[in-house]
């Protein structure tokens, strides 16, 4: 019992503020946060230029916005920025050089993994498998060069899985065709707590956290082409497996103790406390995310198919609801709040969807004025905080408001 209590306390995250968006797809990787507001008719509040490319989403802690990018002819210059969320003024910038390989598909970049934070530290991971931890004031806390440590950890198309903090463990997915691991790293020291051998296959999906209920210890859910694996974030022990395959691009989403996995369409799974395989609640290929992650809002799950059609289904039953064709193509995932989804296509067209309308409806649009004459694309997922939306493109960080 004491052991269980200690486990639970150790795994408790540092308290984050209501307006914080600490990782890819925000608190609990849910793509939504209760206190945020998405404006129906967004306008640009400010823009902060970036010296390099990237598809890593911004994250927000307090009034600080953190974003990464990569620059140089081989994208070997890795940047971590901290901006003032009020006005886009730069608080600090740190730059390191890639120690791992920087080859990637031309569409993606080395700043592909969204950084994450435990509220005290920021962890920036790049496709080169360079991993740096800073305090919120930009002081370097520790460094890792994961390709220096494990020389065959790389992907010639680029790595993209975003790290996740669970308690005192930074879960770092560095899975690929060759030397393939997920590493649990001590947030305080950057040292390995555990290293788990994973399927030898390229994997761009990001881990999520699952809890049976608010009082239970968190379980890290790793995803791969084989399926899902529940892992104890403290020890790295495998707790359970689901072996029916899953996407290697689109990530799962968790709501009320159920995992909605991009597996054979969407498969809703209810893990068991006894370590047995999760129970299937429902499965539907009517909502079929290809590369983009689903989001849950107001009792429905939403996902884009490869044709840019936003499909929805009831989360309790999987029953398909309305579909809405938006202007694509999309790479970034939608996020939602106050009955609205914000979806940004690759060309920088911001589209606000009213999900409370009987058949879903486009509530507003805004074209970001991307860099003229460039091939600039928007591949990232927006971040929400208060009444603002933060979007990063290949040349800038943008704050949208009402």
């Amino acid at each position: 019992m004491k052991r269980l209590l200690a486990f639970s306390l150790a795994a408790l995250p540092f308290p984050l503020a209501a307006a914080d968006w600490p990782q890819f797809r925000g608190p609990d990787s849910a793509g939504t946060v209760a206190d945020a507001t998405i404006p129906a008719k967004p306008k640009i509040d400010w823009t902060a230029p970036l010296p390099g490319r990237g598809l890593a989403s911004p994250i927000i802690i307090g009034k600080k916005v953190f974003v990464t990018c990569s620059s140089g002819p081989k994208q070997e210059r890795l940047h971590v920025f901290c901006f003032d969320s009020d006005d886009g003024k730069k608080f600090w910038e740190r730059q390191l050089k890639a120690t791992g390989r920087t080859m990637s598909h031309p569409k993606t970049s080395i700043a592909a993994c969204t950084p994450c934070s435990d509220g005290k530290r920021v962890f920036a991971l790049f496709s080169s498998n360079d991993l740096a931890a800073f305090d919120l004031d930009g002081n370097l806390l520790w460094l890792r060069g994961l390709t220096v440590d494990y020389p065959n950890v790389s992907n010639s198309l680029g790595m993209a899985s975003s790290p996740l903090v669970v308690g005192e463990t930074l879960v770092t997915v560095i899975e690929n065709d060759s030397e393939s691991y997920t590493v649990g790293i001590d947030v305080k020291t950057g040292r390995n707590l555990w290293k788990l051998e994973r399927p030898k296959a390229a994997n761009w999906s990001s881990p999520v956290t699952w809890r049976a209920d608010a009082k239970s210890a968190p379980v890290v859910v790793l995803q791969s082409s084989k399926g899902l694996t529940g892992v104890d974030p403290v020890t790295g022990s495998v707790l359970w497996n689901y072996n029916e395959g899953a996407s290697t691009s689109s990530s799962s989403v968790v709501a009320q103790g159920v995992i909605y996995a991009p597996s054979n369409g969407i498969t809703a799974l209810s893990p068991k406390a006894d370590g047995s395989a999760p129970e299937r609640v429902w499965r539907s290929n009517q909502v079929n995310p290809k590369t983009i992650s689903p989001v849950i809002l107001d009792g429905k799950i939403f996902a884009f198919n490869s044709a840019g059609v936003l499909a929805s289904a009831e989360i309790k039953s999987g029953d398909a609801k309305w579909k809405l064709r938006l202007t694509g193509p999309f790479s970034g995932s939608p996020v939602g709040a106050n009955g609205r989804l914000i979806c940004v296509n690759e060309k920088g067209l911001v589209q606000i969807v009213d999900v409370t309308a009987p058949e879903g409806a486009l509530a507003g649009q805004l074209q970001l004025p991307l860099k003229e004459g460039s091939k600039e694309m928007v591949l990232s997922t927006p971040a929400l905080s208060g009444k603002n939306v933060f979007i990063r493109t290949d040349s800038a960080l943008w704050r949208l408001g009402e």
Binding site: W92, R94, L96, K97, N139, L140, W142, L143, R191
Partner: protein, 368 residues
Amino acid sequence: MLSRLIVLPATIALASLAPLRAAVEDSVKTLAATGREGSGNEAASAAWKAVVGEGPHALLALLAATGKSGPVTDNWLRLAADAIADAALHAKQPLPLAELEAFLKDTKNADAARQLAFDLIAKADAALAEKIEPGLVNDPVQELRRGAVARLIAAAKARTGDDAKGAYLHALDAVRDEDQTNEIAGALKKLGMTVDLAKHFGFLMKWDVIAPFDNTNQKGFDTVFPPEREVKTDAEYDGKAGKVKWKTVESKDERGKFDFNKPFGSLKGVTGYAVTTFDSATEREAELRLGCKNGWKVWLNGELLFSRDEYHRGSQMDQYKMKCHLKKGANTILVKCCQDEQTEQWTVEWEFQLRVCDSTGAAILAAK
């Protein structure tokens, strides 16, 4: 008496500087002690903050330690130097630019350290960096050359006819980066001159090749087939579908790509080998740089340099850089290239390109 009065404060001042220097040295030593899998991180975290707090007078010590303990340690040092520079510039405090410039100009200093020195100069005084940059056109650091080469290309673009040709050829002598080389070669082609890119980059074009051995279920990657035990180009072995013998081939590709599909047919689930002899004029350090989208292994004089079992995720020039030591005279380079069983159109390639160069990417050509 007067002289004693003058000497005394100076002695006190020097004495008071000594602990400062020692503090910086201790911190830098701690940063330089970081190693694999985060070893030394705990102590380095405190040392980093301490050395950054010392301000610009710590920069030279950070530079002196850079390039000596591995790339991750270099990042600890670089991030400290960068943070010092940012804080100093914010406080309108000068950086020791003359010392940084002198450090940069001394090519005995480590490559990574000299690059850092240039970056600090550029951050503090863009005009000074602009002034220095053209002089770096033949620098031993590949990245430092780039700006100077860009200037030569820009100058060549402003010229016409033979003047332009001469200017582009001058740039071609200096260039090391692939994208800039392409730009120069493209411009020269328009001016009626074809650049031998294979020679420029140092791609190895002539190979003895043998295939197919098995790679069903990708098991051939770790199977030791006869060419790994002996390189005997007149030998015959049992292959995947009968006897196999070595063939001599020469790549006609301007980037030195050798395509196994050409002599052996479009096969899947197979393994091939290519061997060549590289005659080095001297004993020296070098790099073998490989581009390959198949599973591969590379040996130099019987020593495995690196291997990777990734298939069809992409290929590019200099995708893998392998540091090596060439002996004077004949050096045997053996490449194992494995093709998997995927059937998609984009998985047809069964090929590699390999070149011998120095650390700047300059071709090392065979002596004969």
